[in-house]
């Protein structure tokens, strides 16, 4: 049985031999190879990406902003949200300003475009907290001191 077929012809223009390494590397970036273990670190942030987690070589971008009146006054911009990760990367953040009494309730969270926060959890080692991330994006810390909300749907006092 013959299948349907469509043919589209187009021309491709060679604009030279530009490769990833020949483009300008932005400030605060590192070149990450898809087939190597990659690590980028500052004094307050570190990311470790296992071999094979990237689909292609990338110039990794990182920046941080200070935020006033926040529980944790730093927002970490970790590369971009459109570069996929095939495996989990590890992110470590310095959080020495978090009171010791709140550290058990503190976690790394991903900030969504709609302001939604997604917890990535976190394990403390001294003044640093580490969590696994499945995607690049915007990260910060937050504290959860609010208990879960449990509401009865079909039961009221002494009657079902």
């Amino acid at each position: 049985m013959a299948g349907n077929e469509a043919v589209l012809e187009f021309a491709v223009e060679d604009v030279g031999r530009n490769t990833l390494s020949s483009f300008m590397v932005p400030d605060h970036a590192a070149k990450f190879g898809w087939n190597t273990v990659n690590r980028y670190a500052t004094s307050s942030f570190e990311i470790s990406i296992p071999r094979g987690a990237l689909y292609e070589d990338v110039f990794f971008n990182y920046s941080a902003d200070n935020v006033k009146n926040a529980f944790y006054p730093v927002i970490h911009y970790v590369h971009d949200s459109i570069t996929p990760l095939h495996r989990q990367a590890s992110v470590t953040v310095k959080a020495d300003m978090i009171p010791v009494g709140l550290r058990d309730k503190t976690m790394i969270v991903k900030l969504g475009g709609n302001g939604m926060k997604t917890s990535r959890g976190g394990t403390w080692n001294g003044d640093f907290i580490t969590a696994g991330i499945n995607e690049f994006g915007v990260y910060t810390l937050d504290v959860d001191t609010v208990p879960p909300v449990l509401r009865p749907v079909n039961i009221s006092l002494e009657k079902i």
């Binding site: 449990l150 009865p152 079902i160």
Partner: protein
């Protein structure tokens, strides 16, 4: 005995997420199941284990990933 076949709650945690939940009827652990997609916590009445036509005491406990706890207590006739 009521015609209802289950006790249902909504259970939600805004940040760290639900870590555990336990339910007790008359101080005996009973099987509560959690549907996280619909945030629904429910217990299906077991006629083999729960005597009908009498007052029962219900306790439900829930905890999130950062060990914040909540509980619900009530009595009911089933």
């Amino acid at each position: 005995m009521s015609n209802l076949h289950s006790i249902r709650f909504t259970l939600d945690d805004k940040l760290s997420g639900v870590a555990s939940y336990n339910g007790y009827i008359d101080n005996q652990w009973v099987l509560f199941e959690y549907d996280p997609k619909n945030k629904l916590l429910f217990y299906t009445f077991d006629k083999e284990r729960l005597q009908g036509g009498k007052m029962h005491e219900l306790e439900v406990y829930a905890e999130d990933m950062t060990e914040n706890k909540t509980m619900y207590h009530s009595t009911f006739i089933w």
